[in-house]
């Protein structure tokens, strides 16, 4: 997900909007940063490429080189001032007609206004409609589990979605037979998860066995004008036998941590992410600080739509890394 710019990794998931960013530092610049007074007595971070700056921060080159800042208006190059008569009040003034900006005491980063210039238009637009075009951070599905292309075991089937403060309608259909297996049922969107009862799995199984192929199901979720669907498969027949034999293998030859790791791997291989997440979570009881295990557990939990659990494990992993450093 991250992308590098001048060697600095950027991860969109971990950043808040900044007012400026250091994009380039000349080797002779000797950058100096003064953070806006905030009561924090820690030393300000040394300026590096990719560093986010916020309104009030002051940055300058102590050496003869230059540095480049990304501002909302574009890139700005800042050099050390040779003109000693510039007063501090003049130093913060941006002159767009110049490609270079020379300063003595430092360039003060202007804060980006919180509101758009014409906030009434923003409000009117929000009341009128939504953008019918691609824009990040997309795509994020409201259906967390089952995910597209995943597999489920009928007995463990659960639906997870991003909670919404309104009624949602959920239904499950079989693609082969075009039969509704469950729903449409209207439920409270705040709940976030549901274990549906009375799903007609037999209809999906009959069709898949007759055609000797995997049963593909469609889960539809709708509320207001929004609707989405995911396609997943129901484990059965030959695939079920394969999974069972691999699970038996692990059970017959391993115990403890290895057993759960093996079972988790088998489930993950068959896109049974929910079951895999449960196995890795159990395995973590045996080795809570194993980096490999944490990474696998994060992946399985994320794929199974258990965002909170994935986040919790991610934080644990990060704390592990910091303590090692």
């Amino acid at each position: 997900m991250g992308m590098t710019l001048g060697g600095a990794p950027l991860d969109v998931r971990s950043q808040n909007p900044a007012d400026a960013r250091v994009m380039n530092i000349d080797s002779e610049c000797q950058p100096k940063l003064t953070k806006k007074a905030s009561g924090n007595k820690d030393q300000p971070p040394s300026p590096r490429i990719g560093l986010d700056l916020f309104g009030g921060d002051k940055i300058r080159c102590a050496g003869p080189g230059y540095l480049e800042l990304l501002l909302p208006d574009g890139l700005m190059r800042i050099t050390r001032s040779e003109i000693m008569w510039i007063t501090p009040s003049q130093t913060t003034k941006i002159t767009p007609s110049k490609t270079q900006f020379t300063i003595k005491d430092g360039f003060t980063v202007p804060a980006v206004p919180t509101n758009s210039a014409f906030s009434e238009i923003t409000k009117d637009l929000a009341k009128y409609g939504v953008p019918g075009a691609t824009r990040g951070p997309q795509p994020v599905s409201g259906i967390l589990w089952p995910s597209d292309g995943s597999a489920v075991i009928a007995e463990h089937f659960v639906i997870r979605w991003v909670p919404v403060a309104q009624k949602i309608t959920i239904s499950i259909k079989s693609e082969q037979s075009d039969t509704t297996l469950w729903g449409p049922t209207e439920i409270d969107g705040n709940v976030g998860s549901l274990r549906p009862e009375g799903v007609r799995w037999d209809l999906a199984r009959d069709k898949s066995q007759a055609g000797n192929h995997q049963s593909v199901l469609t889960l539809s979720l709708a509320y207001g004008g929004h609707s989405e669907e995911v396609h997943f498969s129901l484990v059965g027949g030959q695939q079920e036998q394969e999974i069972n034999s691999s699970l038996n293998l692990w059970e017959n030859h391993t115990t403890g941590l290895a057993l759960h790791l093996g079972r988790g791997y088998s489930f993950l291989r068959h896109q049974l992410f929910d079951e895999a997440a449960a196995e890795y979570d159990t395995a973590l009881n045996f080795a809570p600080n194993s980096r490999y295990l944490l990474e696998e557990a994060i992946l399985a939990n994320r794929l199974a739509g258990k965002r909170d659990r994935a986040k919790e494990l991610q934080m644990h992993l990060e704390s592990q890394s910091e303590s090692i450093n």
């Binding site: 890139l75 210039a117 019918g132 691609t134 795509p139 004008g225």
Partner: protein, 503 residues
Amino acid sequence: MKTRHHGKAERPPAGQESPNSSSSEDQQEKRVRTAKNSFWFALATTLAIAVALLALKERVEKTKYGMLFEQMSYDLLQYRLKPETNVPLLVVDISSIPMVSSNGLKPRLVTDRRQLQSVVDVLTEDSEKAPRAIGLDVDFSPDQYGYADPDDWRFLNFLLKKRKETNIPIFVGVNDSLALGPTNWLKEPIYMPLAACVVVPFPEPGQSTRSMPEWLQGEYHGDYLTVTTNRCYSMGAELASAKPDPRASEKTDSLACVKPDPHIFVNPDVPASEMPVDLAPASLERDVPASVKPVPSWLRFAIISSTMRNGQRLTESQFLVDFSALEILSNCRLQDPADSALEVKDKIVILGRTDQTNDTFTVPGRPEKPYPGVFLHASAAYTLLRGNPLYRLTDSSRRIMDLLFAVIIFGAVTAIRVFRTRKNVGDFNENSYTRVISFLFALAVVVGTPFLVRIFHVMWDDFILVSIALVAHPLIERKIDELDDRIRQRSPSSDQSRTKAKE
């Protein structure tokens, strides 16, 4: 209808006219008078019931079931619309282009600009096979933190350059940036000719997305009481009006590659060939894009082809979209724009994500799955290109029509009654006739409306509710008759008892 009682009571049986001429004239005159009175009474009753049913229908329309019926009716009408054989639109699927993290001040995922540029390059490289216009269903709106991707200025310059070289109109999507100012939809005035609005309106409660905007007009209040209005035409409207303009090369001379803000071009990595040349400031004048065909003035009281919505500072004009070409557009989507089979010559090409995207909407007539926004823009362009818009009935014409149906049925029954009276043909059971005619009329409405929508394009979405009302009308009338009969039967006995009491 009330005439049944009066007609039956006053008319002498066939072949039993009195030999006395003066008495016969009196009777005739009395019959005529009674008939006249009963006619007006019956008409008044019919209209009263019709008005009551109309009021009931308007209440029902707001209920969950009423909305369901209206949506079903609208779905059926949309489904009946027939697409043209040659649809000059093509949706090119760009789902394979990855979303990458931008290096902007506000981190976000954006469609990879380099790959997007190569797609546009492929589409425009051969002038013999070039498309008529290109729309990018990608939201390029900058915000107060700048462009979605800091390098977007470079991509926009590339598009301006392409427009100049090829005369092919190219548009990119904007939405939120309407709030940045009258000329800042793509941050710099120079890029205004590339901007097309990509907003999809919220549907009415219980409905799917029926309409798309033709334009959105922002009202920008500046200092010293100055007000600037600027109209952002929708992607559909911009594309539908696009045709290679012979004056385009002269026109774009003043537009292309103007360096919008010198201090942003200091990146030494930008090759000199890409550096824009300084030209005169851009003219913001643009050709007025395609608009919805207006309804003739004499018909405007009854049908409309576009509606206006007024916000605090934003006015929108929107029109009903003809989704009949959706299957053709969906079937034409191509995974790989570099595919040799890509036939884009003289077509309007819309690049958009059709998979793994959140801008999906349910549309009328196809409730089984949501469609990505790119198909809605393509359908909007198709509606405008077709030049035969979909009409909606005005509220007043809906009411007039509902009343008119009641009067027509009443008129038909009256005509039969008059005919039969003149011919002296047996007894006349008006209620039965009314029931039969109402049922036939309701059937004609249910069958005829979806049939006629192909010819007249009138989206009369309450025709099922009207049909139900038409069938209910004679039943209600019959109940009123029965009630009336009971009152009449009771009245003479009460009179007699009163007389006896007096004696």
